[in-house]
């Protein structure tokens, strides 16, 4: 007749000792090692406290209908310019050339956020004029909502110049967000909700492209129009206007932010506990060996002894 395990149960053995003994000291050391060393291991292996995370969001972008156009019309440095700012237009005097502009913002996937701006500009030219370079500023209202509410006014800058006079410039690009520092994880971030170009200023320095771009680039949060492949078409027919076709897409952005307190704690907790489990198991074995084999003197109390309480 073969024997088999019909039933089994673990037996609990208590080991008793008084306070001032080696066993107590051992217990304290083991507890410290068990709970503190995982913290050190998790910290030293980097990435314990999370300081920067990312999320994805499509911004709510609206074209602000503020435009500033400068076009060089000769190789000697003659230019024509136009803007949507009345003060600047008054200052330009004879260099003012009013183009015809058409703008359309399109929501292609019908999610309530505009995805594409189509900006078309036709600049009439006199017979002796040719376009050699184009500079264009467009301003946008840019909003993010998912983590912190970001409201800002931003800029897109198109510049192209060529030694050959052109008939048309086509630009198709993305309005990308550029962050120098991560955003906060909550709250309202409207530090940059100020006009990029101060249209109410009567001073010429307010419209100096150099000043505008320099003060804009000082911001921590900017947008930049990335257009890797501008197309400059040459061969303008006499009497036909110079055409500027711009398509600007508002793509999904990966935005980095500084996580809040509980998010930091949550990630640290996961790392700590997963290392702690290993240490718990190891030191459990160590303790069992020490007490079972009476390496340190204690009084074992088997479970069979009635414990009336």
């Amino acid at each position: 007749m073969a024997f088999y395990d019909v039933y089994s149960h673990p037996a609990l053995v208590r080991y008793k000792t008084s306070v001032c003994t080696k066993a107590t000291l051992f217990l304290v050391v083991v507890l410290c090692l068990t709970y503190i060393s995982p913290l050190l291991v998790a910290y030293r292996s980097q990435g314990f406290w999370i300081k920067r995370r990312t999320y994805e969001e499509q911004p709510v972008v609206r074209f602000q209908y503020q435009t500033l156009l400068v076009a060089a019309t000769s190789t000697r440095g003659d230019y024509v310019a136009w803007s949507s700012f009345p003060h600047l237009n008054n200052m330009l005097g004879a260099n003012l050339r009013i183009p015809s502009v058409s703008v359309r913002e399109d929501d292609q996937n019908q999610d309530g956020k505009t995805d594409l701006l189509i900006f078309q500009l036709q600049l009439p030219l006199k017979p002796e004029e040719q376009v050699y370079s184009v500079q264009l500023l467009l301003t946008f209202s840019y909003k993010l909502f998912r983590m912190s509410t970001v409201v800002m006014q931003s800029l897109a800058y198109v510049q192209h110049s060529s030694s050959v006079p052109g008939a048309k410039l086509s630009v198709s690009g993305d309005l990308r967000l550029q962050q120098r520092t991560p955003l906060p994880h909550r709250g309202l971030y409207d530090m940059y909700n100020v006009p990029v170009i101060d249209g109410s200023s009567p001073f010429a320095s307010a419209y100096n492209l150099d000043n505008i771009i320099r003060s804009y680039q000082e911001r921590n949060l900017t947008t930049v129009l990335s257009y890797p492949m501008p197309v400059w078409t040459v061969g303008r027919a006499a009497g036909s206007p110079f055409q500027l076709n711009i398509e600007i897409r508002y793509p999904m952005e990966v935005i980095s932010y500084r996580p809040g307190f509980w998010e930091t704690i949550k990630c640290a907790w996961i790392q700590y506990v997963s290392v702690l489990l290993v240490f718990l198991w190891v030191f459990e074995r160590v303790q069992r060996f020490v007490f079972q084999n009476q390496v340190l003197t204690t009084v074992p109390v088997p479970v069979g002894k009635p414990h009336l309480s």
């Binding site: 406290w49 230019y79 949507s84 330009l92 005097g93 209202s141 109410s200």
Partner: protein
């Protein structure tokens, strides 16, 4: 437009808010009219209800009551169908998400005589997707929400909601009104200064400035209390413009009368001419004694040169604490324009000084520490005996003349120029690049900016060694060579311990037979002084290193017969850098990294 009238008779839609039961006028506001029933605006009418029947939908029907070619579902094409060759739209289906939806199909069959015949049918199609919609009880679930109907009462709010940015939405359209705050008689910071024209019409004080390009824009106003300096170019065609272009004429900048304040009855302050400097063709400047009566208008001397053209204009405006302009003086530089120059560069400055401001004459380069980008303060040591009495009753220094003539203020010990840019300077490279051709343009050494510049020396000019040595030293060090530099930006002149001597390694006595300086290098050591939050820059030592040639010049030039002479300046910070983290470590020195308790502390 024909069916607008009958559309108007339709009952109000359910989009209208229940205005009659809950009046939303506040108590303070007068009910202007008896509550208008929220009628739709006449032209808007009731919005059409969407057509959902597949059989009556026709996406290619673009012309009403006219047959669209190859549009098989167009009801106006009963006769033309025979001429069609194909259907531009052959199926029209309902909502795809429904489990069974209606599909209308259109196809053409050719008859025996060559004409086409339309076959159309509407049938039910079953959707075999697991997640299809069996029945749809939310009407607006798959369509756009109906827009609110514009009425008299909600039009403004709807307009505000949907038109965020539009063309022509500038708040400040048109030029600014010169007088906005009539309560104040004087100007405030940034205000446009008002001028009076010949016949009393009000204008603005213009200060030409570059705008979107480097070209001068004449109609840019000057702002009160905003010191401005601008440099812009102007294209001139000499034959036409020399006598006629207003921007070249001196009178344009001097015949101005400014209103002392913003009010209508403010006194008129004429612009006074403080000095006129004539610049010759080669750049030397002489001051013109203004006696009146000379004609300083631009003159075409010969077809290629135009004389008496305004090159530089500097206004100095004095104001009193009430914001009223006390006087305005202008200094001008007149010169020549040659035909060869395509465009002319003009410089415009305006500075503001408070009346009775004694400090106005002397500029500091920081208070106390140097500010990056401001010129070093330098001076020369004079004899240290008590000064004669003329310094005590020093005449009230006219700033502009003082700046132009570079007068020096002499107090015990150190003397310095009142012009902040007349200080330790570097050679500024010029077009001809020749070290021996003076006068050289110089650029002041600005605190914190390392810079390098130079000129060239042709070996055939270097025959007379001792002469070349002197000319080169003069060119490298500058005409009025200072030997002391202030350790702080505001070091007082009567405190010589604050002034650091410029050490030099160059001793002209021991200079050998033919050793000429090849480079001049200024090494300036500075340190940060004071609090970590607000450090002040202090210059601790300044050393002039002149390197002379040790071998023959021919060897150095490598046979090219041209030597390059360099002048440079370097600022060396000698202060210890601030450390990240806690400057004073906490008392529990547990050797933990500083961000160990990152989110807690």
């Amino acid at each position: 437009m024909s069916n607008t009238s009958d559309l108007l008779t339709l009952p109000p839609t359910d989009f209208d808010s229940p205005i009659p039961t809950t009046p939303r006028y506040s108590r303070t506001e007068e009910p202007i009219q008896p509550t208008l029933p929220a009628e739709p605006l006449p032209v808007s009418g009731r919005l059409l209800t969407p057509v959902t029947k597949v059989g009556s939908l026709c996406p290619c029907d673009k012309h009403k009551d006219v047959c669209d070619i190859n549009c098989c579902c167009d009801r106006a094409c009963s006769e033309e169908v025979a001429l069609f060759t194909g259907c531009s739209v052959d199926t029209v289906s309902g909502k795809k998400q429904l489990c069974s939806n209606d599909v209308a199909t259109y196809s053409l069959e050719s008859r025996i005589d060559g004409y086409s015949e339309l076959q159309s049918s509407v049938r039910k199609e079953t959707n075999y997707d697991v997640f299809c919609i069996q029945s749809q009880n939310r009407v607006d679930g798959l369509s756009h929400p109906s827009p609110a109907l514009p009425t008299d009462s909600n039009f403004d709010s709807l307009f505000k909601e949907f038109t965020s940015f539009i063309f022509g939405s500038e708040e400040n359209g048109g030029p600014v009104a010169p007088a906005e705050h009539q309560a104040l008689s004087g100007y405030q910071w940034g205000d446009v200064m008002v001028t009076a024209g010949e016949s009393g019409q009000r204008g603005m004080f213009w200060l030409p400035a570059p705008c979107v390009t480097a070209d001068c824009v004449d109609t840019s106003p000057a702002a009160f209390l905003k010191d401005q300096s601008s440099r812009c170019s102007r294209r001139v065609v000499l034959k036409q413009d020399c006598g006629s272009l207003l921007a070249l004429k001196m009178d344009t900048y001097t015949d101005i009368r400014v209103f002392a304040g913003k009010t209508q009855d403010a006194a008129l302050v004429p612009v006074e001419v403080a000095s006129v400097i004539l610049q010759s063709v080669d750049g030397t400047q002489t001051e013109l004694m203004i006696s009146g009566g000379e004609n300083l208008n631009p003159v075409l001397l010969n077809p290629t040169v135009c004389a008496n053209v305004v090159l530089k204009v500097a206004y100095v405006t004095k104001y009193n604490p009430a914001g009223e302009i006390v006087n305005v003086t202008v200094s001008l530089v007149l010169g020549f324009v040659r035909e060869a120059a395509l465009s002319l560069e003009q410089e415009f400055h305006i500075t503001f000084f408070q009346e009775d401001g004694e400090e106005a004459a002397i500029h500091c380069s920081g208070n106390p520490g140097y500010v990056v980008g401001l010129p070093l303060v330098s001076g020369t040591r004079t004899a240290e005996y008590p000064l004669p009495a003329w310094t005590l009753d020093f005449p009230h220094l006219d700033l502009q003349t003082a700046q132009d003539l570079s007068l020096t203020v002499v107090v015990t010990g150190i003397a310095r120029s009142v012009d902040p840019r007349d200080t330790v300077s570097l050679l500024h490279s010029a077009e001809d690049q020749d070290c021996l051709q003076g006068p050289h343009r110089r650029s002041p050494v600005l605190f914190g900016l390392d810079s390098v510049s130079g000129c060239t020396l042709r070996l055939k000019d270097a025959a007379n060694c001792s002469l070349v040595l002197e000319v080169l030293l003069d060119a490298l060090r500058g005409p009025n060579h200072a030997n002391f530099v202030a350790s702080f930006g505001n070091s007082p002149l009567d405190y010589p311990l604050d002034w650091i001597p410029i050490e030099s390694n160059f001793n002209p006595v021991e200079a050998q037979s033919c050793s000429i300086p090849l480079s001049l290098h200024l090494q300036i050591e500075w340190t940060k002084y004071g609090l970590l939050m607000n450090p002040q820059a202090q210059i601790v030592s300044i050393k002039e290193v002149i390197r002379t040639n040790t071998t023959s010049l021919d060897m150095l030039s490598g046979g090219s017969s041209i030597l390059s002479i360099r002048s440079s300046v370097a600022f060396v910070p000698v202060s210890a850098a601030a450390l990240p983290g806690y400057r004073a470590t906490p008392t529990i020195n547990a050797k933990l990294p500083f961000d160990f308790f990152f989110p807690f502390v």
